[in-house]
């Protein structure tokens, strides 16, 4: 594909084809986003816009869940996508999918902001929980909802202590040592618990996917 023709194509052209495939279940969103991230790395701002359209709502949900303040979470999403723009070339598909790269950048920025708050401010923010307004996205809502429900069912199927370990690792951004201090468990137990929790979650998600296939 030459740059000349790429410039003539409407935003998300390739993605639209891949999105159709994703809707039909023949290719995951993760695979659909990898070419987009390559285009972002090459300086294509329209590819970044398409990536934003795909992930901004999930990124904002994660940032909001961590920070409990919508306008601050929106600032984080903005910072995160600017960072994706700058760091797209560093994406290594061996380490995870393109979508996990984008969401991980946003989560990381949200956790940075959470850590920069004082502990008193953190406590206030944690208690003053804003309730987000549901805003399903057009076209993908059914697919995304099914995926979410699958993960929620899988999370609910985990033992409470494993689910707690996932919460503390992912949403509170605690290190293994901090989790051990908070729960009073030995460090080795925390390590094992997080590993087992994620392995079990991955296996449950595999089962859910298999059962969902026609």
């Amino acid at each position: 594909m030459t740059a000349g023709v790429a410039a003539l194509r409407p935003p998300g052209y390739r993605t639209q084809a891949m999105l159709l495939a994703a809707l039909l279940g023949v290719v995951g969103r993760a695979e659909a986003d990898q070419p987009l991230l390559r285009r972002v790395a090459a300086g294509d701002s329209r590819a970044l816009r398409t990536l934003y359209d795909h992930h901004a709502a999930a990124a904002l949900a994660v940032a909001f869940r961590i920070l409990r303040a919508k306008s601050e979470a929106e600032d984080v999403v903005q910072e995160a996508f600017v960072e994706v723009w700058r760091r797209a070339a560093s994406f290594d598909p061996r380490r995870g999918s393109a979508s996990s790269f984008v969401l991980a950048v946003c989560r990381s920025r949200a956790l940075d902001r959470l850590r920069s708050r004082g502990s008193a401010e953190r406590a206030v923010a944690a208690s003053a929980r804003e309730e987000p307004e549901p805003s399903p996205l057009p076209i993908e809502s059914a697919v995304q909802r099914q995926d979410r429900e699958r993960v929620q069912r899988a999370l609910a199927a985990l033992p409470a202590e494993q689910r707690g370990a996932i919460e503390l690792s992912y949403f509170a951004g605690l290190t293994q040592r901090e989790i051990a201090e908070r729960t009073g468990d030995p460090l080795g137990t925390v390590k094992t618990r997080v590993r087992l929790a994620l392995e079990k979650l991955a296996a449950l998600l595999d089962d859910e996917k298999r059962n969902a296939l026609p």
């Binding site: 039909l24 901004a56 700058r86 399903p136 590993r195």
Partner: protein, 259 residues
Amino acid sequence: MTCVEFKEIAALFAAGALDPPERSAAEQHLGEPTHDGCFEALRRASDTWDAVGRSLPPLRPDARVWQGIASRIEQKPRAAAIRTWTGWAVAAALALAVVGVQGARIRAERRAATLGAASAERDQCARDLAEARSDAVLQREALALLASPSTQVVALAPQQAGASITARALVNLPSRAAVLYAAGPPAPSGKDYELWVIRGDKKLPAGLLRTQPSGAILARIDPALLSETPDALAVTVESAGGAPQPLGPIVLVGALPHT
């Protein structure tokens, strides 16, 4: 750190939950040339954490969020872009100096080379544009099929263990329209994927499947092949250019429900 040790902590590493010394050791380990499943474990962990994040109900950002991103990426071109631009500027200055010294003959040769390159670029653009238009038409057809209540989604099941090609077909028999979407690696060198419409004991060739660089395959099934209800669709691997009858291994098969 060994591969076994890395895989033990891959979940914590992917979540950024390791303490700094262990994180450094893990990064160092990933830089080693050979691994026994380390990246596979890391990718699985990363994608599972990603699923955790996406289990939350999505929130639509305010329009100002994108506006802020757009203005910031315009103001701050990336270092690579700056380097590229600087590089072009330096190259242009050097080229001018060379042209000035070596005279008109070299200028003429360069002009001819530039014209040749531009001509090749124009031809490539024309091919890409034709391909883009063709794909856009197919996409519109697929979207129309998705919107129709009489469209059936047919899953084509892999016939070989470990097959990584997957496919779905959108089939609308009343309007004799069908589009196939597949994803997977390209056919082996010297081979092509060929689509077949199966009716009774007849196996009707329905075209070769072209894999795009993204791994997606999009193909329209000839309406004439849908004049009578097919029993199934199948994909085989044939010699390059295809075959009038299937000779190669069957990789995908999907039965059409008869209503």
